[in-house]
């Protein structure tokens, strides 16, 4: 395993050090592994907190700042953070108007955020949670843990963050976040496996001529393993899987094509060209697009596509100023 780390045991602490060193505008609570805005909380603003296992950077700490999250809790690599971390974050950023937890749908995240909400409410803080479960690669069923939460999380954080910044109340921000979550869909493809620092070898074997369609962001196996193929055919599979799952017609769409960590930008643009062409062919209007590393899976090569069926309000909030380490405009 070749990584720019000091040791598997310290990778998270080391990365938080780097975040603190690079971004003086952020506050890093090393004991609780919470990254929050350095500026004083704005009284009366709904606070947004997200978090999850590490290894998906810039998610979530890269999205802390004006117009997006108030705090992010970093778990160990691919492991949900704990309720104490979430509670510490809650106490740090609560500004009296309640707190929204943005939770990716993994059992660990769900349970830990649930415990945190119970603890926070016992301490008199009003908490609501929005669950993101947008991965179309997974069958949706009430008999299972449901779908994984992936790329739509970034869009929820941005749009709900802008709404909170405008001064909307917890119910309104929660309702909007839920609407975004319900209208976003994602699907990923892996060309290689990720290697967890603590494991030291790839989580799964993927032969030189095969790819994993519908992979999760923790190296969870996908829908199927298929022979390596041109970007246009991969794009076709991603696009059609998403479009057959939700109606994206007649509305402005926000598209995000995220790298998984080990794939360079030139390839992301190469496949995005095909994605855009396919969407256009099917009469779908991409109103806003993001191409880059936004939700990753350590050093995995591959990408994920996220589409959000947006509306004018979401677009306006999307365009609102944001100033975070990984997403910045208008501010």
């Amino acid at each position: 395993m070749k990584k720019l780390i000091n040791s598997p045991a310290t990778v998270l602490a080391d990365a938080l050090n780097g975040v603190a060193a690079a971004h003086h505008e952020l506050a890093v609570d090393f004991a609780n592994r919470v990254v929050s805005r350095g500026a004083a909380v704005k009284q009366g603003k709904v606070a947004l907190i997200s978090g999850g296992g590490s290894g998906h950077e810039p998610l979530h700490s890269g999205f802390v700042g004006l117009g997006m999250l108030d705090a992010a809790c970093a778990g160990e690599v691919f492991t949900s953070p704990t309720p104490d971390q979430m509670l510490a974050a809650t106490m740090t950023v609560n500004a009296g108007a309640g707190v929204l937890y943005i939770v990716k749908n993994y059992t660990g995240d769900v349970l830990n955020f649930e415990m945190a909400a119970e603890l926070a409410e016992a301490d008199g803080v009003q908490v609501k949670s929005v669950l993101v479960a947008d991965d179309v690669a997974v069958e949706d069923s009430t008999w299972t843990a449901g779908r994984r939460g992936v790329g739509t999380t970034v869009l929820v954080e941005k749009i709900a963050g802008a709404a909170a910044e405008e001064g909307r109340d917890l119910d309104a921000v929660h309702a909007l976040a839920t609407r975004v979550s319900e209208n976003g869909r994602s699907m990923g493809v892996a060309l290689t496996s990720a290697t967890l620092p603590a494991v030291g070898k790839p989580s799964f074997d993927l032969p030189e001529d095969e790819i994993e369609m519908g992979v999760g962001i923790h190296g969870e196996p996908g829908r199927k393993r298929v022979p390596l193929r041109p970007a246009s055919e991969i794009a076709e599979e991603l696009v059609s899987s998403i479009l057959s799952d939700h109606d994206f017609s007649g509305a402005p769409v926000i598209a995000m094509l995220s790298g998984l960590g080990g794939t360079p930008l030139i390839e992301l643009y190469a496949i995005y060209g095909d994605v855009a062409a396919l969407l256009e062919q099917r009469g779908i209007t991409v109103a806003r697009a993001l191409v880059g590393d936004y939700i990753t899976s350590l050093d995995m090569a591959g990408c994920s596509l996220t589409l959000l069926r947006a509306d004018e309000e979401m677009l306006r909030l999307w365009d609102a100023p944001v100033s975070t380490a990984a997403l910045r405009w208008g501010a």
Partner: protein
């Protein structure tokens, strides 16, 4: 080594259990992670080892005064160090047990069986898994049943715990053919079959650790 009475678990017995559990987790961490890499995200061994080491450290730094305090300290520590699904679930197991035993300084078979049942009920309430969903519940529920049967039959504690460990192991092995319906393995659908569940495996270690540590102490 003292020869202790084989009818109750003292504070030291509980601590010995959790120390043994840590040893077992350390010994099997790589295997647990391997199991998790097949149907999960390759962190179960690392998660558990981080947690049990913290539990052990905490309990040996300052010995709690009663059984409830041991279990609560363990539960809180697991919740705040393990993370993932298993952290909140194992944490809940111990926190619910602690609630049930309160400030008792010793637990007899019946009280322990009852507390364990409450703990597992807490895990079910939190995780919403049923037996057969291919989770730790598949090892924990048989443990509850074995403990209750033993308590009702007046079986000595050592034997009760051995029966519980055997039941947990059988429950663990029974997860192999199952299709996961909870937790990360459920994303795999049918492909989750033919694999041992990592959480059921660590749960069997938990029960075996108690049976073994207790057997050693009363020997």
């Amino acid at each position: 080594m003292l020869t202790l009475e084989d009818s109750r678990l003292t504070v030291d017995d509980l601590i010995a259990w959790l120390v043994r559990f840590d040893e077992q987790i350390v010994e099997h961490a790589e295997r647990l992670t391997e199991l998790d890499s097949a149907i999960g995200d390759a962190d179960h061994g690392t998660n558990m080892a981080r947690g049990t080491a913290a539990v052990r450290l905490r309990l040996t730094e300052a010995r709690p005064d009663d059984a409830g305090a041991v279990l609560k300290s363990c539960g809180m520590t697991l919740v705040s160090t393990v993370g993932g699904a298993s952290g909140s679930l194992y944490g809940t197991l111990f926190l619910e047990m602690a609630k049930r035993v309160g400030a008792a300084s010793e637990l007899d078979t019946t009280v322990f069986a009852d507390a364990f049942r409450a703990g597992v009920a807490g895990v079910v309430a939190r995780g919403r898994a049923e037996p057969g969903d291919k989770t730790m519940i598949d090892a924990l529920q048989p443990t509850v049943d074995a403990l209750s049967t033993a308590a009702a039959g007046g079986v000595p504690l050592t034997k009760s715990l051995q029966a519980a460990a055997a039941a947990a192991a059988a429950g663990r092995d029974a997860t192999i053919p199952l299709v996961a319906r909870r937790g990360r393995a459920s994303y795999l659908g049918d492909r989750s079959a033919d694999h041992l569940d990592p959480g059921a495996t660590s749960a069997a270690l938990l029960v075996q650790s108690l049976a073994d540590s207790h057997a050693e102490r009363v020997r």
